[in-house]
């Protein structure tokens, strides 16, 4: 059985790579339909293989669920070696199913969404490359391969954000995403190097994930170096997963096509940081300081991004801030040691946030690309499928009971409260963020689908439901957004917390479920009721504001213009970064360009050239061009030589 899994796992990333090469090379020579079919089919094949491998994996006994399969030796240098090989364990299995499953649905959706765009071949080849890179990231069994995938998804993110590169805003957003990610990646690379260095100094030169997990308690325990390593790694995670302080690129990344936002900037790539922290949980657990930092940053980001989301009018930006906020929850879970809960929320979030983005895309599709929610409204009657699926997604993200988001979010809040790394204050922050989440999501829903139409009459004539290739993936995702949570149904609600148990062997520390047993069920129910009430408050306030009295938000904004403007302008963080970082860097760059480069380097090179030229102009006078002069010089030369020979 293990051999079978090895083969299956090895083949999973191959299909998207083939799709990328095929679509990338043939590109415009293929008709649009073929491109879409190939793009989706390759990811579907990967999904089938992942599911098959998953079914085989759960038949294995728990301790055997960690399988390495190697393609080839990639880098071997001295004591350092890194193979192109994959690690298949419960964590990788879950991630692979999410990436290929949700990825496949988004590919199908893209066929409808990107219909008629000139660059469909380019689009699908990037998308397939992304899936390949993401699979490399989550399947790689060593840090270098993980880093390859890490950079690969960053590249694809850049390419797809700037997909409509003729738009200035899109290409700028792509650059911003890439550069901000570079800052994080720099930290990540330093962390990996420091890790290898520390391990090599201890006589174990390895970057293999399994070996690191086994050896780190022995090598790193008690040292300050592990805090530094994990903080550097976490810096990488804040870049990739859009946490404070490096979250600024994600809202701008909404310039890309909406399915890209759904796939890369909601469901998969941005969760890479969470995955990485969970994957190296054995390392992070040794650094309590880092864990605290992660928990605080996670909770702060959850709250901070949610407040910005309250007042944005751009439908995709609301979802972007919501994504940042939800990623904050995942980090909060990691920070308090409940890694399984983080991955659980990662999975349910992938379902409902991809769903919400794709619904938003469907709305944009119907409204000729309109993004401003103030120019929507009353779409319920035009787009029944989109409306129903979006409603389901909104209920799920708001944490309404029976929907997937409730279970995962509740588990995180519960762990934040009771875990030994947790703190009631973290729980309070998470709870407030939950209220805000419910509020801004229902605000989005009400503004878009309810009330009077504020649509441009010219556009309203053409409003239509999206084609089947778009609505069917929406329905499947809506279904998943409902049932996705039941795999992790907690004991308190009669479930078996199967998801936690499945992931348990991967994570160090044994927090989460095992710790939960020591607490009373009463506390668990109490916390659960608190999060239900939080969702209820958010929904109720949204109802009061946007259905009962649509003028109320404006009055409130007029009453507190300071708060409103601060939130509307995203706390002026972009402006702050621009003044504090971007402008100084530009000034330094200008200095190096104008002074060092133009004057220094170019000056030296040009000066050398003109010095040689000047010297030559001195000497060239002897070249008269007259034949007889040359002959005379020649004769004189001969005479001198002869004289030397004769009279020496």
């Amino acid at each position: 059985m293990e051999e079978q899994i090895k083969i299956l796992v090895k083949l999973v990333p191959v299909f998207p790579l083939i799709g990328f090469l095929f679509n990338g090379i043939l590109n415009r020579r293929l008709p649009e339909k073929t491109v879409g079919f190939i793009g989706s089919f390759t990811v579907f094949s990967s999904f089938v293989l992942s599911s098959w491998a998953f079914l085989l994996l759960i038949q294995l006994p728990e301790h055997a669920r960690s399988i390495q399969s190697s393609w080839f030796d990639w880098v071997v240098s001295g004591s350092f070696s890194s193979a192109f090989s994959f690690l298949y364990d419960p964590l990788a299995a879950v991630m692979m199913l999410v990436v290929t499953g949700v990825g496949f649905l988004i590919h199908v959706y893209s066929i409808g969404y990107m219909h008629g765009d000139g660059g469909v071949g380019r689009y699908f080849s990037y998308l397939n490359l992304f899936v390949f890179a993401m699979l490399t990231l989550i399947m790689g069994d060593n840090l270098l391969l993980l880093y390859l995938g890490w950079e690969g998804v960053g590249l694809c993110s850049y390419l797809l954000i700037g997909f409509w590169f003729h738009k200035d805003s899109a290409s700028n957003a792509g650059k911003k995403a890439f550069i901000v990610n570079r800052i994080g990646d720099f930290g990540f690379a330093l962390g990996v190097m420091l890790l290898f260095w520390t391990f090599a100094a201890a006589g174990h030169p390895t970057i293999n994930l399994t070996e690191i997990s086994h050896l780190s308690p022995e090598i790193l325990a008690g040292g300050g170096i592990v805090t530094l390593i994990t903080l550097l790694l976490f810096l990488g995670a804040t870049g990739k997963s859009a946490q404070i302080p490096l979250y600024v690129w994600l809202p701008d990344a909404m310039e890309g096509p909406t399915p890209v936002s759904a796939l890369i900037h909601a469901a998969t790539m941005v969760t890479a940081g969470v995955y990485m922290v969970c994957r190296l949980s054995a390392l992070f657990i040794l650094a309590p300081v880092t864990m605290l930092v992660i928990a605080i940053i996670g909770a702060a980001t959850a709250l901070f991004a949610a407040t910005i989301g309250l007042v944005q009018n751009d439908i995709k930006r609301v979802l972007a801030y919501s994504t940042i906020s939800q990623l904050g929850y995942m980090f909060l879970a990691c920070g308090v040691g409940a890694f399984a809960s983080g991955i659980f929320h990662l999975m349910t979030h992938a379902f409902f946030k991809a769903l919400l983005f794709m619904c938003a895309g469907s709305v944009m599709h119907a409204l000729a690309g309109e993004l401003d929610m103030q120019k929507m409204g009353g779409l319920k009657k035009y787009m029944p499928y989109t409306f129903v699926t979006m409603f389901v997604g909104t209920l799920a993200i708001s944490g309404v009971p029976l929907f997937s988001g409730f279970f995962s979010k509740d588990e995180i809040l519960y762990n934040a409260f009771i875990s030994q790394n947790g703190h009631p204050l973290l729980w309070v922050m998470g709870l407030i963020a939950a209220i805000l989440t419910a509020f801004y999501m229902f605000r989005l829903l009400f503004l878009t689908f309810y009330g009077k139409s504020r649509i441009d009459p010219e556009v309203e004539k053409h409003v239509h439901e999206s084609p089947k290739s778009m609505t069917v993936p929406l329905m499947i995702l809506a279904f998943l957004a409902v049932i996705g949570g039941y795999v992790g149904l907690p004991h308190a609600l009669g479930g078996g917390a199967w998801f936690d148990k499945f992931l348990h062997p991967v994570f160090a520390g044994g927090h989460g479920e095992s710790a939960a047993v020591h607490h009373s069920l009463g506390l668990e129910y109490g916390l659960m009721i608190a999060s239900v009430v939080a969702a209820g408050i958010g929904i109720f306030v949204a109802f009061m504001f946007y259905i009962a009295d649509p003028e109320r938000p404006k009055r409130l904004a007029g009453k507190f213009p300071g708060i409103y403007n601060t939130l509307f302008n995203k706390y002026y963080v972009d402006e702050l970064y621009n003044a504090a970082i971007v402008q100084p860097v530009i000034a330094i760059g200008r200095f190096f360009w104008q002074i060092t480069d133009l004057r220094g380097v170019d000056g030296f090179a040009n000066g050398l050239a003109s010095a040689v030229g000047w010297l030559s102009s001195m000497i060239r006078v002897i070249h008269t061009g007259f034949l007889r002069n040359y002959a005379l010089v020649f004769v004189i030369g001969v005479i001198v030589l002869l004289g030397y020979v004769m009279f020496k």
Binding site: R620, H623, T624, G625, F626, L627, R628, Y630, A631, L632, V635
Partner: protein, 122 residues
């Protein structure tokens, strides 16, 4: 037979005239003729040395007087005369090429004055 020195002096005079002609003259044809003159001056000295090989050898290897050098050496040292034939052949070939160049210069510049052809510089 006249002594070797006569030939050498004549050869030197001819050569000097040739050099003078090359340096003085502006006419490409005259320069060319002067070069031929130098070649022939050299030829003359070579045949002179060749036919007086005994004198040359005794001049350089002083212990041996000319009378004691065997006659056979005189005939076997005829390579100088062969060499002259070679020089003449080369001179003929050179004349063909040189004249062709001069003619083509004349066609281009309508002149055989070498000072008109002063583009041999950058």
């Amino acid at each position: 037979m006249a002594p070797l020195e006569y030939y050498i002096v004549l050869s030197a005079v001819l050569f000097a005239i040739g050099v003078w002609g090359v340096l003085r003259s502006r006419n490409a044809i005259v320069i060319f003729m002067s070069i031929e003159l130098m070649l022939n001056a050299v030829n003359l000295s070579i045949v002179a040395f060749s036919s007086n090989i005994k004198v040359v050898i005794s001049r350089f290897i002083e212990a041996v007087p000319p009378q004691r050098i065997p006659d056979i050496l005189q005939t076997s040292m005829a390579s100088g005369q062969v060499f002259v034939l070679l020089v003449m052949t080369v001179a003929a070939a050179e004349a063909a090429v040189g004249l062709a160049i001069i003619i083509s210069i004349f066609r281009a510049k309508n002149s055989v004055n070498v000072d008109d052809v002063n583009i041999m510089k950058w």
